[in-house]
Point group: C2
Chain length 203, copies 2
């Protein structure tokens, strides 16, 4: 995925950003996106508001940055799983699912936060523009890595790659939501493991 | 779908319930699930709180009843589309998509409301139990009508029907969400029209 417009980021600045994002992630999980204030996040991170605003323009900006990192980690995993040329598409999927199972950013937290932010974006034009742009960037990065992976293996998808990626994103969200609403009714990843091979034409 | 436990409902009582649900649907759309109070809904419907509570136990109850009606309408549409024995599975899908396009309950409103309620259910144990039970009922009703439709036509799905139904629900939600966040980036129903035939093994 194209990184966000890349300012020169010193290691010290990077460490500050990491600490704020980590604190934000915790506070969002505890209080929800709307319930968490910039003050709460600064207090948790041990930074002043000044330090916050020299790194991020708003609370929305934090979610966008967390989302960029989340998507980049996913793209890296797919690329790494696909890097062995002898790996079949099924092997690549199996590897990606296995690495997703160790997801460091807790997936239930992440689902709740992105769902809250999506509702916020539907109601707020500025957030919607930013979130739409972010979704497009994530999708483009995923389309590129999926195309690369299937091209290397001479596979033809039964649908445009963009539709496959949109469907995979919808499935991942829906699967996580169903697990949170009905714990135990569906094994983690079961929906994706069953459905994605069919969407890839491996069925 | 099995209707909710069926008390004897007189026409007058039914009319009251319909009016409250209609008012609730409007007020939820304007103020969000959390922003809408029972008082707001009573005022819009022109009923007293007494009339409200003799019909519904809570605001949550309204969403559950709206959801039952919404799901019943979908099941009826599938059953009606599948009722012509000469209709191919593709014809049934085309008919269902066409009738969904005339959806009377506005789909964008409905997506926002169910998304809000899902977040509420993830945080509130009582709502979660009710919403989980509701999701299971809806899924069971959809599984029954899909099984009926594919059995009549001698089709074997490439996955368990339950997984197909879960995937279809996730796709419908994801598609609507993507349309609301990125208006114009995806035609209404395009994701479902492209992906569902593949999931049904018609690809």
């Amino acid at each position: 995925m194209p990184p966000s417009p890349a300012p020169r980021v010193t290691p010290r600045r990077q460490a500050t950003r990491d600490r704020v994002l980590e604190a934000a992630s915790e506070v969002f999980a505890e209080r929800g996106f709307h319930g968490a204030s910039v003050e709460d996040i600064c207090e948790r991170a041990g930074f002043t508001r000044g330090a916050f605003y020299s790194n991020f323009s708003s609370k929305d900006d934090l979610v966008l940055e967390l989302s960029t990192r989340h998507a980049q980690a996913l793209v890296d995993r797919i690329r790494s799983a696909a890097s062995r040329p002898e790996a079949s598409p099924e092997d690549v999927l199996t590897d990606v699912f296995a690495s997703l199972a160790d997801e460091p950013l807790r997936k239930d937290r992440w689902l709740v936060l992105t769902t809250e932010f999506t509702l916020h974006a539907i109601r707020d034009a500025k957030a919607r523009t930013a979130w739409a742009e972010q979704q497009r960037r994530i999708r483009d990065a995923l389309i590129a890595v999926v195309d690369e992976t299937v091209d290397q293996r001479g596979i033809t998808l039964p649908m445009p790659t963009e539709i496959f990626v949109r469907a995979a994103m919808a499935l991942a969200n829906g699967s996580m939501t169903q697990q949170l609403v009905e714990p135990g009714s569906l094994d983690a990843g079961e929906l994706e493991r069953t459905v994605l091979p069919v969407l890839l034409g491996l069925g």
